[in-house]
């Protein structure tokens, strides 16, 4: 009787524990996931639906508008005339509908059944170019005259000229004024004398690929402050800094860890050296901000990537990870090599290093995350955008009032990818590293 009741009790406790474990586990799993999903969804939204209230989870597909303008009867042969006309036909009506979800506007010019030109503009170009090209809805003839060089220089709109002879063009001659965007564009062309061509056809469709224009916008914004590489430049900088820092830590830490573990014989000396390295974990980065900056100034390294990389060579914990691992290596193998007359350097490179691949991997992965995420020191030491890491770039982006949330979220998504890759492929090593450092404290 008593034994069966105690058994029942235990089973019941087991079930309630498992239920509680799953409830708590799923709660935190969901709460970890929601911000990430919201970030993804926001990054795919256009400027109108990002403001939608109540908030929408599913972004809507952007519209692609193709306008065919007929120039029959226009006695102009100069391509620049047509390019200006195409720009007016693109930028002006778009500005009038700037809050609509337009992904792309294609303007095609035809004359006597022949295709003269095709001009394409995507929403990323429109969003970044709009404050400069069409700052208001007061349009005039002069505007495009002045802005065309900017459009060309920044590659905001593409313009393909097929020549006076033209390529063959098939025109259905459909103007579906029932669709709201089509009717807005049509209204502009018929009411404004600025565009020379007559609207022959306006097509409206949904474009899947233009969903990702926030990512293009992100790149275009960065190109303005930086050079041609755009946001990729910050990524590359972070990549260089991370790779170089890890390499430094592996080489410096590996060598010193091995020396402390196997080469230094004197107990007293070893203790002093261990204290020399170990004591530095008491020094927080914030408290040496100024003197480290002054040091970099003396080395003429302020505003270079090296200034971000070099201090990583002195990370207290790395040497001890290596030392802890080398302490556990079977001494017999090294003694055998040593007895065979191999030098210490040879023993290290040809015997110790190949045996220690796991610890090199663990250290590399464990330092990847903090170095990749580092913010304060790069913020202080890199001044020009060309030397920013992505964390500094992200902070600068969010301070610009013209940058919308969809672009910001796109930047966050992009910055998450490398760590996602590292975690997805090496969670096993991270766990190993954790239990290893955990034992050491």
């Amino acid at each position: 009787m008593s034994s069966s009741s105690s058994k029942r009790l235990r089973e019941r406790g087991d079930r309630s524990l498992k239920t509680a474990a799953w409830v708590v586990g799923l709660f935190f799993a969901v709460s970890a996931l929601v911000p990430v999903l919201w970030m993804l969804s926001s990054s795919l939204k256009d400027n109108k639906s990002i403001d939608a209230y109540p908030p929408k989870w599913i972004p809507s597909l952007p519209h692609a508008i193709t306008v065919t303008l007929d120039y029959s009867g226009v006695a102009q042969g100069n391509p620049e005339f047509y390019e200006k006309d195409a720009m007016k036909a693109t930028w002006f009506p778009w500005m009038k509908s700037m809050n609509e979800n337009i992904g792309e506007v294609v303007v095609r010019g035809v004359k006597d059944g022949k295709l003269l030109y095709e001009a394409k503009t995507n929403s990323a170009s429109f969003q970044t170019g709009q404050p400069l090209i069409v700052p208001s809805t007061l349009f005039n003839e002069k505007m495009i005259e002045l802005k065309l060089p900017i459009i060309r220089e920044r590659g905001l709109s593409s313009f393909d000229w097929y020549g006076e002879k033209g390529a063959s063009a098939e025109s259905g001659g459909v103007v579906d004024a029932g669709k709201p965007l089509t009717s807005r564009f049509l209204e502009f062309y018929s009411s404004s004398p600025l565009v020379a061509g007559k609207p022959a056809e306006i097509q409206e469709s949904k474009s899947f690929w233009r969903l990702f224009d926030s990512y293009l916008t992100l790149n275009k914004i960065s190109q303005e402050t930086d050079e041609k590489l755009g946001f990729f430049r910050y990524f590359l900088n972070s990549g260089i800094v991370t790779a170089a820092s890890i390499a430094l830590q592996l080489v410096f830490g590996g060598l010193a860890g091995y020396a402390l573990s196997c080469l230094v014989k004197s107990k007293r000396l070893k203790f002093l050296l261990v204290m020399f390295f170990l004591a530095t974990i008491m020094i927080p980065d914030v408290s040496i901000l100024i003197p480290l900056y002054l040091t970099m100034q003396k080395l003429h390294l302020v505003d270079t990537l090296l200034a971000i990389i070099l201090p990583h060579a002195a990370w207290g914990i790395v040497i001890f990870l290596f030392k802890g691992f080398f302490d556990q290596l079977p001494q017999e193998v090294m003694q055998a090599a040593w007895a065979d007359g191999a030098s210490d350097i040879r023993t290290f490179t040809s015997i110790v290093v190949p045996m220690s691949v796991p610890i090199f991997t663990i250290v590399a992965i464990m330092t990847f995350v903090p170095v990749w995420n580092e913010f304060l020191w790069p913020l202080v030491v890199s001044k020009s955008p060309g030397n920013w890491t992505f964390t500094v770039a992200l902070n600068s982006l969010q301070q610009q009032t013209s940058v919308r949330e969809n672009t910001l979220m796109a930047s966050s998504v992009v910055s998450m990818l490398p760590l996602l890759l590292v975690f997805a492929t090496s969670l096993k090593y991270i766990e190993k590293g954790i239990s290893f450092t955990g034992v050491k404290g």
């Binding site: 911000p35 007359g341 969010q398 930047s411």
Partner: protein, 307 residues
């Protein structure tokens, strides 16, 4: 171990052994240690000494170091209201973080050990906030906190709460900074606690089972006490991480509104690079260094005791 091997080697090549011994002890270890010694001296010890030196001067950037002022920089920051405001804020942050976040990974790891299937799945899900870079995570939360169009105010309005100003409301800015950490937990700490739980000997569990302890009882009477040391060690580290917290606060509020989220590390950054007051900053830095050093020593002592 090596001491045993030496006589054998000596016997084999007595002459060369003598020569090599000299070489080995003098040059190779130095060669191996030199890069690190140089790096640590340049980027840790020299800056620390320089900081102490700077803190004794009314430092002039154009004409360093400027007039020697003894300990006036120290008295200056200790008398300033902004410093004590920062200390007060740090203390409130410490309470909030402890109440809302410190226990989360412990609970996660305890429950993780209670289930069998789906463990890997949960473990991976807990890592997601770690995968999101801190600055990027702050941007997402800032967007969710948007008072007019944000997701949080919308959800709260559905249950009849709000709207809240979040980062603009002096009363809850600090909470708004800590809240993301509650939901995000700490992926790395979960793994650490979980590894410690896994290393508890199975006999302890078996013995308790035989004594009639149920699974809940075992969780609290065997698992929790066995990771108690780790919790203590982690808590000390947690304390220093709060004193040093910078990234999330800087990106979220820059210390505002009205200095309600200004903490010491932000104060150091601002007085150094926005007001160029290197002397006072040096003094404050030294104060931080002392506190962190004490915490680190306690943490090291605790982990040595554990071993």
């Amino acid at each position: 171990m090596r001491a045993n091997a030496r006589p054998i080697a000596k016997a084999a090549h007595p002459a060369r052994e003598l020569k090599l011994k000299k070489l080995r002890i003098r040059w190779v270890p130095i060669l191996f240690l030199l890069p690190s010694i140089v790096a640590y001296s340049m980027f840790k010890y020299y800056p620390v000494l320089n900081m102490m030196y700077i803190s004794l001067f009314d430092y002039r950037i154009a004409d360093p170091p400027g007039p020697f002022v003894w300990f006036r920089n120290y008295t200056e920051f200790l008398m300033s209201r902004s410093f004590w405001n920062a200390i007060k804020n740090t203390f409130v942050f410490f309470l909030l973080y402890t109440l809302l976040t410190f226990w989360v990974p412990i609970v996660q790891a305890l429950f993780l050990s209670a289930i069998r299937r789906g463990r890997g799945f949960l473990k991976f899900m807990y890592q997601i906030p770690t995968i999101l870079p801190a600055v990027a995570g702050v941007l997402v939360w800032k967007w969710m906190y948007n008072p007019d169009r944000g997701l949080l105010n919308y959800w709260l309005s559905k249950v009849g709460l709000g709207p809240y100003g979040w980062l603009n409301d002096l009363a809850i800015t600090k909470l708004a900074i800590v809240l993301p950490a509650f939901f995000a937990g700490s992926g790395i700490s979960v793994l650490l606690y979980y590894a410690a739980i896994r290393s508890i000997p199975a006999e302890l569990h078996e013995a308790a089972k035989i004594d009639g302890a149920g699974p809940w009882h075992r969780l609290f009477s065997i698992v929790l006490p066995n990771i108690g040391f780790l919790i203590a060690i982690q808590f000390v580290g947690f304390m220093s991480s709060i004193l040093l917290a910078f990234d999330n606060i800087y990106v979220m509020t820059q210390g505002g509104p009205a200095d309600s989220t200004m903490v010491v590390s932000l104060l150091v950054m601002k007085s150094a690079f926005q007001q160029n007051r290197f002397g006072v900053t040096g003094a404050m830095s030294f104060f931080m260094l002392v506190i962190i050093a004490i915490l680190t020593v306690i943490q090291q002592k605790l982990s040595q005791e554990r071993e």
